[in-house]
Chain length 204, copies 2
């Protein structure tokens, strides 16, 4: 088994690396450079027709892409500690929160990147500053909502650390790298960020 | 237990209704009208702080939102027939495909809706026709990619009908309602669409 990944800052490959660190599992990592076209070669497109990272390749050549799908596979193979929740309700809540993070938080980071960030320029893709500005406002609103949801809670989805916390951490850290900070007045969110950032897995 | 939903055309509540129909399970449905503000009342926001549908409410008041999280809960309670795959690899593939559909297909329908569709106008939200036009092109490209992926396959993610097929069906049907058709030349995709549309659950 091996993991095709890429070094920071992209958040999705980091999700899987943190997940593996939390499980205490080490697997060989092959780092590719998307900017050099290494994910658009015929060999790599046979592993993931979208040419995206990360991809987990099993020993028989079976490939799984999409960070959370890879994590779900790893959860079945290495069940301890459980990171997708235990029992039907916890599992649903972890799922609910990973989806909320994608659609309520990550989309705004993506839109800001695409419309305003200097590295977001792509040939033939129009940029509109008003949408980038709106994304900044929507990102702040989403952080505020998350701060409220985290009141009195140590972790986002359930009482223990889960893959939802991994998704939030990787999103906030990437956004921070891109220039979007968590306002200090959001105390619950800031404390949560400190709490998960001191876990050894956070360096992955 | 009860399901807060809304009548067609929104695709996400339909996902859960189709899922229930495939399981042969009937639960009480409470239909709400978002356009009348029925999902922004204090009572409903206590069930889902995002004020979105669908929401599954259990008998003890526990609430689960996000269509796929609800389906995952229902899968645990009603395991037959399995709709999230059987075994670690199938489960990962179903997950991979639901995510691919959200990020490679649905996003373009959403962007078209937001920037070009007459019903997509929202006060204070800028619209840019060039982004709507790009979304139309990207949607067609995504359909073409899906058509290739479906070559020689009856269902999208695994050899049997899964929740990934439900996500694709609800996306295509909503897009069709919004004016985005599947080109007839995409034979694999058109045949897949006929195949799943004749299932009794498709009327849900």
């Amino acid at each position: 088994v091996k993991l095709y990944s890429t070094p920071p800052p992209p958040p999705n490959p980091r999700r899987v690396r943190i997940f593996l660190a939390e499980k205490g599992v080490t697997i060989p990592i092959v780092n590719l450079e998307p900017v050099r076209g290494e994910t658009k070669t015929p060999e790599f497109l046979a592993r993931n027709s979208l040419g995206q990272l990360p991809v987990l390749e099993l020993d028989d050549g079976t490939c799984i892409s999409e960070s959370l799908a890879i994590c779900r596979y790893l959860e079945r193979i290495y069940p301890d500690p459980p990171l997708f929740g235990s029992g039907p309700i916890e599992e649903a809540w972890v799922d609910m929160w990973t989806r909320r993070l994608e659609f309520q938080l990550w989309v705004h980071v993506g839109s800001y990147w695409r419309h305003l960030h200097p590295f977001g320029v792509r040939e033939g893709v129009p940029r509109h500053a008003d949408l980038g500005e709106m994304a900044l406002r929507d990102y702040d609103k989403a952080l505020e909502w998350l701060d409220g949801e985290l009141a009195g809670r140590d972790y986002l989805a359930i009482d223990s650390f889960s893959v939802a916390d991994i998704c939030l951490l990787t999103t906030l850290d990437f956004a921070d790298w891109a220039g979007l900070k968590v306002p200090e007045r959001l105390i619950n969110l800031s404390r949560w960020h400190e709490r998960v950032s001191v876990r050894p897995s956070a360096t992955a």
